[in-house]
Amino acid sequence: MKTTTDDTGAVLSGAEIVVQALCDEGVELVFGYPGGSVLHIYDALFKHGGMRHILVRHEQGAAHAADGYARATGKCGVCLVTSGPGATNAVTGIATAYMDSIPLVVLTGQVPTPVIGSDAFQEVDTVGITRPCVKHNFLVKDVRDLAVTIRKAFHIATTGRPGPVVIDIPKDVTDPSIKIPYYYPRDIQLRSYNPIAKGHPGQIKKAVELMLQATRPIFYIGGGVILGEGSTSLIELVRSSGFPLTSTLMGLGAFPASDRQFIGMLGMHGTYEANMAMHDTDVLIAIGARFDDRVTGRIADFCPHAKIIHIDVDPSSISKNVRVDVPIVGQVASVLADLTQLYQERRTEAQNLTEWWVKIDGWRQLNCLEYDRTSALIKPQFAIETLHQVTNGDLYLTSDVGQHQMFAAQFYPFDKPRRWINSGGLGTMGFGLPAAVGVQLAFPNAPVACVSGEASILMCIQELATCKQYNLPIKILLLNNGYMGMVRQWQELFYESRYSHSYVDALPDFVKLAESFGHVGMRVTQPADLAPALQEAFALQDRLVFLDVVVDPTANVYPMIAAGKGQHEMHLAPGMAERELA
């Protein structure tokens, strides 16, 4: 049964087929939680032992862990959950993966086919509930369809624009007493699904012509560059063109942040220089980015002077929110390779961008991310900068959602793709810790940290037990401001400081909490103590360390473009606006 040739001659039950097919698919890790409808599969797992099953403590954690694993490795994440509440618990994780186009295969148990539709115990319409938040889903009603459906699911999840695929498997389909010949198809052709690989040469030519004429060009890149393994080609194109580059939250790391041509993240909490350059640009080259509202601000004011080139694997992303002039549909890596070659052929001499860079450097002078470094309180910005120093910039960093996420994006310069792992599209609090579980399991010897807030961390805190069971030495950097900081910031700025229910009262003692799960807890309150504490934490190579860092509760994330405002209408940190005028 452990052989992986196509036709093994094996005769297997549905449960065994599930396990064997995952092995044949090359799956190393399955994140799951058992229950009635998947017990046949769990029994087959017990007997088979071909892959590792990681027992999480909540099905949301299973989906996030599989998602973190997928983001860090580029492989497909896999989870296995039971019917009813198992499936509904996983939905938040599935939707999180869907919004960020992360390849997942989620196996859900279902009640036996004869009782589907009868409101049987732990029955929910999983296919119906997940339909709007998956790339595709299947209900397998016949054991003979099982192997091919699993192959289809992996194919769909990992190709084109990736995304989660759910396979709902009724219990009778995995019945151990019904055995059929097993065959796992290698290649699968779907007549209704053929993602476009190569970009259209005519469109690429038009794009190169626009780039060559540009005097104020800018690259705007997104998570698609990372998902499409386009980082290497991107770096070559950007360096040879000399154009500035800005990235979305999801694209961070695709281009080295320490490179001079990187002018910071754009959008709601982007840098002054990135948003101003976007507003001023004459040729925008968007790559694997989807013109999300957090990036564009008010559409009417988005890049008003620009001709727009858009490279994306998903045709429905083209001209969805913003009309583009030169769409190129194709795999990012392939299109970029073709585009780079043609650009280098057609360009006779380096483009003169001196004036453009003078302008950008002028905006840069504002130093929009500056904060008070003399504060007696730990500033969250300082905490992230210290994390960067202590880890020498070499870290897998997962994040929860809130101010701490934005501070991490602004103050931890990522130089490599797949190192910054956060929920951008759905903004799911609770993502960080289980995602770190997936990353640490993928890279057992790499440093992995999770930056979180005291509100977010409680949403999936149970996964501390998973970390203990599998000895995952994750470092949790809790920026404890005692508030749902991001909510508090909006209330301060847009609701005249009426802090309605954003104060996180009755917090646990996080040090004791970590200890009760068998981990190391530390509390840091003084700026000077932070670096030594982090050093100590990372030196504990086989322990999870939970650092409860008490930070300034009043810190806000700047710059900020309020929802619905134009990209040039930034709120700067207090005191900075005057400097801008001066």
């Binding site: 339909r131 709007p132 209900l139 209704s192 429905s316 001209s319 969805k320």
Partner: protein, 163 residues
């Protein structure tokens, strides 16, 4: 603008709800939607009528194409095509009105397919506008029930929407 879009879908359970779900989730207009299996039992053909700006209709088509179950899609409104809808109308047909209703049916080349002492059921096929016109022409107070299939369509000429 009004668009009539034909889609060949895998004849799988749930394919229809994916299309319906797409329209409700993204807030697109849908005027009518008809679906039935084709001569190839693995395929269903769906015809849907929608209205929206050119940008929205473009998005609708892209989103429909993105569904894994969509095999092929054609906007019939892009070229010469024939559109047909079937309607059955039940009308009150008492003595004084019977002759006029019969005449009306003849003018529209409709058929009377059920007759009682007090009612007719009239069947009519044609472009949706023609069906609208017939309903308008039925004298006040005589309409009992109207049932329409929703439009289906096919391109003119020898090229077909097939695999």
């Amino acid at each position: 603008m009004r668009h009539i879009i034909a889609v060949l879908l895998e004849n799988e359970a749930g394919a229809l709800s994916r299309v319906a779900g797409l329209f409700s989730a993204r807030g697109y207009n849908i005027e009518s939607l008809t679906v039935a299996p084709t001569d190839d039992p693995t395929l269903s053909r769906m015809t849907l009528v929608t209205t929206g700006s050119e940008e929205i209709v473009e998005q609708i088509k892209k989103q429909l194409n993105k569904l894994i179950d969509t095999v092929k899609l054609l906007d019939l409104s892009d070229g010469p095509h024939i559109e047909r809808e079937m309607m059955m109308v039940k009308v009150r047909a008492e003595r004084p009105d019977r002759e006029e209703l019969k005449r009306l049916a003849d003018i529209f080349r409709a058929k009377i397919i059920d007759v009682t002492d007090t009612s007719y059921v009239i069947e009519l096929t044609g472009a949706s506008k023609k069906l609208d016109a017939f309903i308008d022409a039925v004298p006040e107070g005589l309409l009992i029930e109207v049932v329409r299939s929703g439009p289906t369509g096919i391109t003119r000429g020898e090229k077909g929407l097939t695999l």
